[in-house]
Structure formats: structure tokens, C-alpha cells
Symmetry: C2
Amino acid sequence: MSVQERKERERADRERLIVATARELAEQQGWDAVTTRRLAERIEYSQPVLYSHFRGKREIIGAVALEGAAELAASLRAATGAERDPRGRVTALARAYLVFAARNPAVYDAIFQLDGGLAFARKDTPEPLQDAFAALLESLGEVSGDGVHPALFTEVFWASLHGLATLARSGRLPPGDAEARTELLVDRLAVL
Amino acid sequence: MSVQERKERERADRERLIVATARELAEQQGWDAVTTRRLAERIEYSQPVLYSHFRGKREIIGAVALEGAAELAASLRAATGAERDPRGRVTALARAYLVFAARNPAVYDAIFQLDGGLAFARKDTPEPLQDAFAALLESLGEVSGDGVHPALFTEVFWASLHGLATLARSGRLPPGDAEARTELLVDRLAVL
DNA sequence: CTCCGAACCCTAGCACCGCTAGACAAGCGA
DNA sequence: TCGCTTGTCTAGCGGTGCTAGGGTTCGGAG
């Protein structure tokens, strides 16, 4: 049995290597540069090996997305955990979200822009994605205001952050006023 | 001179045909299906003809984006023009924006998601893009609230709409509550 | 220790992509 | 009518995601 266990371990290691390499390559040179050939070369295996772990490029993007979603959730909780009042938590949450998007553009795209073959907003949604939404809900639910469903409020707040993040990064919003936009969004949306 | 004029007219006609065909194909089967080969086949010319009109695929996307931006601006103005009070105008604007995004997903992507080689938020931004932002500003500026710069408020409101539009269309937001989300956004962001 | 069989990986290739060089034909002006 | 410019097409480059099929390696039985 020991042999089989070793092989399974090696397989799992290699799978992690693929995902980490894809992520690294995507952050360095963009997702367009993540081709199966380049990826295979970087992990020092041939292309078909990738297909013994994933159905295709889409699934690799999905794997990066799940890893990234877990990190995003952790990052949001770390940022809000240090804050005492609801307002501080919401502001910290918004900033942390936008910082994550700006610092990990490729991962952010994998989660929220590209097609990684993942199900969203459903029962069979992968746990890391549900947990990332839960992390948002934890801080936003307390400022959703009377008569407004916390989940609905979280969706709207999240969508607004997503819009700011994506439009800013593609150069469609002027670069200077990012902080002012965040403040305005928090002031208007959150009921304190 | 008449001959040259005729040739120029035919060239312009063909260029319009390329843009219209690219748009049509993108709306029918998505931008991934808009390849230079397919596009050339549909306009009944060979591939190199495309490159005598546009530098490459990116510029074709840009051309569709400019055409779409003009339509979006017109659509927004048509929707707000019939409303008497500021609140009605803002609500109508938000609905019209989201309807445009939902009905013309490929064109919306060309404008706001894909790289069409266009400059945004700058002095040399193409006129249709500036005008689309102006159309937003016209209705949103009057509800930005005291002490808040209308352009900044417009950016935030627009980003929120963009987030709702893109997340909803990619299935990342539950499909049912679209109207409730729009109402919540307008209620909270606009100062009436 | 030998040898068989299975698991694994690689080479080679498919159809497609964006883009372009160079041959060729059509149609203008002289 | 003829030469030349203008315009278009054929063919091909290097790249893409993905896969069929052959070969090598290696574990385990005798």
C-alpha cells in the first residue's frame, strides 16, 4: 500500500504545482500567457499530463479561483476582525476587497471574470466561494438596514465593489479618486 | 473624381458591414466565435481585407464598442427624458442601463469588458464614450447630494450598475432579485 | 532474480487562431 | 489599346487547446 500512497501524494503535489504555476504565470504575464505549452514547460512535464489532472484550461482557472476565493475570505476576515464598530468593519472590508483585487488581478479575474466552470449562487456552489460570500455577509449584514434582507444588501454592496475594482483596473475610471469613491460608497450604502 | 468617390463610398460601406457583422456574430455566438476567418467568410471577402480596414481584431472590437456606446447613450436619454422628477429619472436610468447590458451582452462587453484599444477617462477619449458618461451624468448629477462632486458620484453609481450587470449576467448573482437590487441601489445612493 | 503486465508519460499531430508576404487580376488613365 | 496602379486572394507562419497511440518504466508475482 505504501507505494500507492506515495504515488497519490506525488500526484497531489504535482496538481498543486500546476495550480500554483498557472497562478504565478497569470499574475506575471496575464491569463493570455497561460498556455498549456508554457504551463507544461514550467512544471517540466508534457502537455498531456495537465489533462490527467484537469479536463482542460477552464478547470485550471477554476482551481486557481477556488484557491483565491479562500484567500480573499481570509483577507476580508483579517481586515474586519481588528475593527470595533460596524462602520469601521465595513470600511475595512471595502478597502480590503479592493486591495485584494488590485494586488491579485489574475486571481481576481479567475474568480469573478473568467469562466472557470464553477457554479455560483447555487446549492452546489463550491465551499470556498460560498465562504467568501459569507465573509462579506458577516460584516455587511449588520449595516443592511431595517427591512432589507442582509443577503440582498450584501449582493448590492459586493456588486458595487466589483464594479469599482474592475473598472478601475481596466483604466475606465480615473485613477486618482479611488479612495474618495470607496468612502462615498460606504457612506451611502451602509446604514449606520 | 467620381470614380474615386465611388470607391471611397464602397470602402465605407464595407467597413460598416464588417462592424455590423462582427457585432451580429458576437451577439449570436459570443466574441470567441468572432474569428477573422468566420468574419471574412460572412462578409464574403478574404481575411486580409479586414486588415485593410482595421489593424486587427482589437480594433474591430473597438469599433463595435463605439457604435454601442452611442446607442447606450441614446437609450439612457430616451429612458430618462420621459420622467418628470429626479427620482423617476434615476430609476429609469438604472433600469435602462441594466436592460441594455442584458439585451446586448456582446456589445456591452466590447465597451466595458474587452480590450478594444480605446482610451477611457482621458482627454483623448473617443467622443461616443465621453457622451455615454455625459448621459449618465445628466441624470445622476442632480441627485449626487451636497458637497459631493457630480462626476465622482456618477462614477460610483455607474460602477455599481456595472457590477450588477456583469455579475448577474455571468450567473454570479441569483437571477430572481434583480429588480429588488436595483431599487435598493437607487434608494441608498441617490440623495432625493 | 527474472519477467510479465499495467500504469504512466511523451511524441506527434489535429483543427483552429491572428496575422502577413507575395502572386495575381481587375480596372483606371493615358 | 496598353501600362500601371490598386485591390484582392492564396498560401503560409507561428501559435492555440486538446488528444491518439506508442513506448518506457516500474511494481509485484513466481
